[in-house]
């Protein structure tokens, strides 16, 4: 991420603070910290935040052991830190009060923070109890303002996509009758890391037979049987930018289960429908989900009711990706978030391919001013040529 981009993001958040009569905005999500400071926190469990005062320079607050890394990486000049044995929340409150002093005067400092975000409830309660602070909820506009566009990180997204694709190719080669899921995963890990992939926001996923019902299956010591479907997914990440890919293959040695081929066809058409929806102007997450689910539920009456009732996602919108916070929001019915140029979209439909197995696909697109641009994934057919 660039300091120029960071300055633009900071300015948007400062404008929000002025519009909402907030003295300091505190951004504590790891992805926000990287986007607003250039510092990539590795110990994301340490209390760390970027403080953006309404009328002063932004500051980075972090743990002492990572302070050198923060100074090395961050373009922010002020790096404050806390140490073991200190009251970290108290130090943070001090920093907030100091940062707000030019505008807050004698009244309580109004500090905006995502209440349902990264920070645990106990930390927020401690902060709320500090003298002279008034917590207010930072809404989604602050989170949106901190998003790093796909254009700014085009090269790292391509590296991430290449690592994803390498892992999926290796996984496909490793699928065979008798292979353990964990062995297939090991082949994927090797290829992924050899292609330069960094720590992914979600672990590599391998599921065989009935376990393909799990959307994010952790590889298990289960043996693949001939003719079974095996769903593979790699959340390929490079410098915290993710471009996931995934596909479902059938282990050779027996006939493919009834419905597997049809399931593959449905997935391809659903993916094409999702891509087509991304071409529309003013599209929301709900619209993309609806377009894809129309294909899926139209092909299976039993899925129609379930999809409505359970609102299972058909993909995700991904920003900078960290473990436990891999994506920004899900593509599901009822999700009103707009999809904008600069967003990175993961389309991940699923369809039951046999009585005990599901087919899963996963492709990544960047949304540009001129339409969606494929980043990662190995679709079974040319999506550009497929019509819903």
């Amino acid at each position: 991420v660039s300091s120029a981009g960071g300055s633009r993001r900071e300015a948007r958040i400062r404008q929000w603070a002025q519009d909402h009569d907030v003295d300091v905005v505190m951004c504590a999500e790891p992805a926000e910290i990287l986007a607003l400071s250039g510092f990539d926190p590795v110990g994301t469990f340490y209390l760390t935040a970027v403080l953006i005062p309404r009328a002063d320079a932004a500051q980075l607050f972090t743990f002492r052991a990572e302070a050198d890394m923060a100074r090395h990486q961050s373009w922010l000049r002020d790096v404050l830190f806390w140490s073991h044995g200190e009251n970290a929340v108290g130090r943070l409150a001090d920093a907030i009060r100091a940062a707000a002093r030019p505008v807050a005067g004698g009244r309580a400092v109004r500090v905006a923070v995502a209440l349902d975000g990264w920070l645990p409830v106990s930390k927020l309660r401690e902060l709320a109890a500090c003298d002279g602070l008034e917590l207010v909820a930072a809404d989604h506009e602050v989170q949106d303002a901190a998003v790093v566009s796909a254009g700014e990180r085009r090269e790292v997204l391509r590296r991430a996509a290449a690592a994803s694709n390498a892992a999926i190719a290796a996984g496909c080669s490793a699928v065979r009758d008798g292979a353990l899921e964990t062995e297939i995963a090991a082949a994927m890990v090797g290829a992924y890391r050899a292609a330069g992939g960094d720590e992914p926001g979600r672990p590599i996923s391998v599921a065989s037979g009935p376990r393909t019902a799990l959307a994010h299956a952790i590889p298990a010591p289960r043996r693949v049987m001939a003719g079974e479907q095996v769903a593979l997914r790699c959340w390929g990440t490079f410098q915290r930018s993710a471009a996931p890919a995934g596909r479902t293959v059938v282990a050779l040695g027996a006939a493919a289960p009834a419905g597997a081929t049809r399931a593959g066809d449905v997935l391809d058409i659903a993916l094409a429908a999702g891509v087509e929806a991304l071409r529309s102007e003013c599209v929301a997450a709900h619209d993309v989900a609806q377009a894809m689910l129309a294909v899926i539920t139209g092909s299976s009456a039993s899925l129609a009711a379930a999809a409505q009732a359970r609102q299972l996602p058909v993909g995700e919108v991904v920003g900078l990706s960290y473990p436990r916070h891999p994506s920004r929001f899900a593509l599901r019915l009822g999700q009103p978030e707009p999809i904008r140029p600069g967003d990175v979209i993961v389309l991940a439909p699923a369809f039951p391919g046999a009585t005990d197995g599901w087919a899963r696909g996963c492709v990544t697109y960047a949304v540009t001013e001129t339409g969606p641009e494929a980043l990662a994934g190995l679709p079974g057919r040319d999506l550009a040529g497929a019509a819903p």
Partner: protein, 403 residues
């Protein structure tokens, strides 16, 4: 609600990881601790505690859930659909390759999670928690998993005295059973192999990522699961960054190389940390290594039952007195069952910490000197506190490594 049968422990290629008796003990001890704090119920929202009590390993750390534990020792799960791919009956299904010990399972939409848990609490508390009654209910606000809004909803829906209680199960988990120690030892052995493989790739001219790849391969080949904390590898000045992720930097003569590898089985994480030196080794680098090695040994000698966690750090710091300005962090922390981003459990080997060590506790003991010459020199192993001598779980050499 559906009621599912209890099943056998999670299996891997070598057989069951944990017995039914182990899970029964955990539930019993957890409820005893809940009673000790005079609570009527505990609402669990940390993934670690869900796995610890039930064996269920949620595949999606972003999907919310609430697990209620009342005095009948029967966990009841309320979860978002993403956590229940086969619907409400299937956490007890063998399809997930493990079976969860959960008395009741209910699928809830995101909006309804708190309402569903509140309904269960009111029912199980037998009227307490309703209007006019006053139950005491613990919640886990110290971890990711419980949002501010959901906690507020719970408090609104269940009239009770709500008590921050994250510490109850984290304290329970500090002392490991024999079965847990066996899994930790297995993970430590695989971490050793990963460290050995990574060290074999350290040579002038190689890239950081090339060396790390050997470690990743060793971990994956052994069936290690995804770690709670990423592998670290930083060379030369990057080692001074303390938590360096591997990059494409080329290793150069004279570099110090900081490496951390973590192996995981059944979510039990075991990490190992080393600094490796690439010739020519400077006199200051040898001095720093000797100091860190002495600090490790001094701390290890303190790791006996009854000793305070603070005294371990004190001994380690005394041995590193010449580098006092370059001690960035605690000497160690407890380790065990965890999910990202937490590798550590809450007990730190940190000066002033009054908690006393007990047999069965496992720590990552990892004294370091950071920032002297811009490098980090560190030596870390997992150490089990026993009735007698502390047991280092890693067999990998603790001698100075020069590649």
């Amino acid at each position: 609600m559906t009621r599912g049968p209890a099943g056998p422990g999670r299996h891997d290629a070598d057989g069951a990881m944990f017995s039914e008796a182990e899970f029964a003990r955990r539930r019993h001890d957890a409820v005893s601790a809940v009673r000790e704090y005079q609570l009527d119920a505990l609402v669990i929202s940390s993934h670690e505690h869900l796995t610890y009590l039930t064996g269920y390993e949620p595949p999606d750390l972003t999907a919310p859930f609430l697990l209620t534990l009342t005095r009948d020792e029967q966990p009841r799960l309320h979860a978002a659909p993403e956590l229940l791919p086969w619907g409400s009956a299937d956490l007890t299904s063998p399809l997930g390759a493990w079976r969860a010990r959960i008395a009741e399972v209910e699928e809830s939409g995101r909006v309804g999670l708190a309402a569903a848990a509140a309904r269960t609490l009111r029912r199980e508390l037998g009227g307490r928690g309703g209007a006019g009654a006053r139950a005491r209910i613990g919640f886990e606000g110290g971890w990711h998993g419980l949002s501010w809004s959901r906690q507020a909803q719970l408090q609104q829906l269940v009239e009770a005295t709500w008590v921050e209680a994250t510490h109850i199960l984290t304290a329970e988990r500090l002392r490991k059973s024999d079965e847990e120690i066996a899994v930790m030892a297995r993970a430590a052995a695989v971490a050793d192999r990963a460290m050995e493989a990574t060290v074999s790739g350290i040579t002038a001219g190689a890239r950081e990522k090339d060396a790390a790849l050997r470690g990743y391969d060793a971990l994956a080949a052994a069936g290690s699961e995804y770690p709670s904390f990423p592998a670290l590898l930083g060379t030369g000045p990057r080692s001074g960054l303390y938590h360096p992720l591997p990059t494409e930097r080329v290793i150069t003569p004279g570099d110090a190389v900081e490496i951390e590898m973590t192996a995981v089985f059944a979510r039990y994480n075991s990490n190992i940390v080393r600094t490796v030196f690439v010739p020519p080794v400077a006199r200051e680098q040898r001095q720093a290594w000797d100091c860190v090695r002495a600090a490790f040994d001094a701390a290890l000698r303190q790791m006996r039952p009854g000793q305070t966690a603070g005294a371990v750090d004190d001994a380690s710091r005394a041995a590193r007195a010449p580098y006092a300005r370059h001690i960035p962090s605690r000497t160690g922390y407890s380790v065990g069952l965890s999910y990202p981003p937490f590798l550590m459990q809450p007990l730190s080997l940190l000066t002033g910490e009054p908690a006393r060590l007990e047999p069965g506790m496992v720590f990552s003991l990892e004294p370091s000197v950071a920032g002297a010459r811009g490098e980090t020199v560190i030596l870390g192993c997992n150490v089990l506190v026993t009735e007698n001598e502390p047991r280092v779980l890693n067999a990998f050499t603790r001698e100075m490594l020069i590649r």
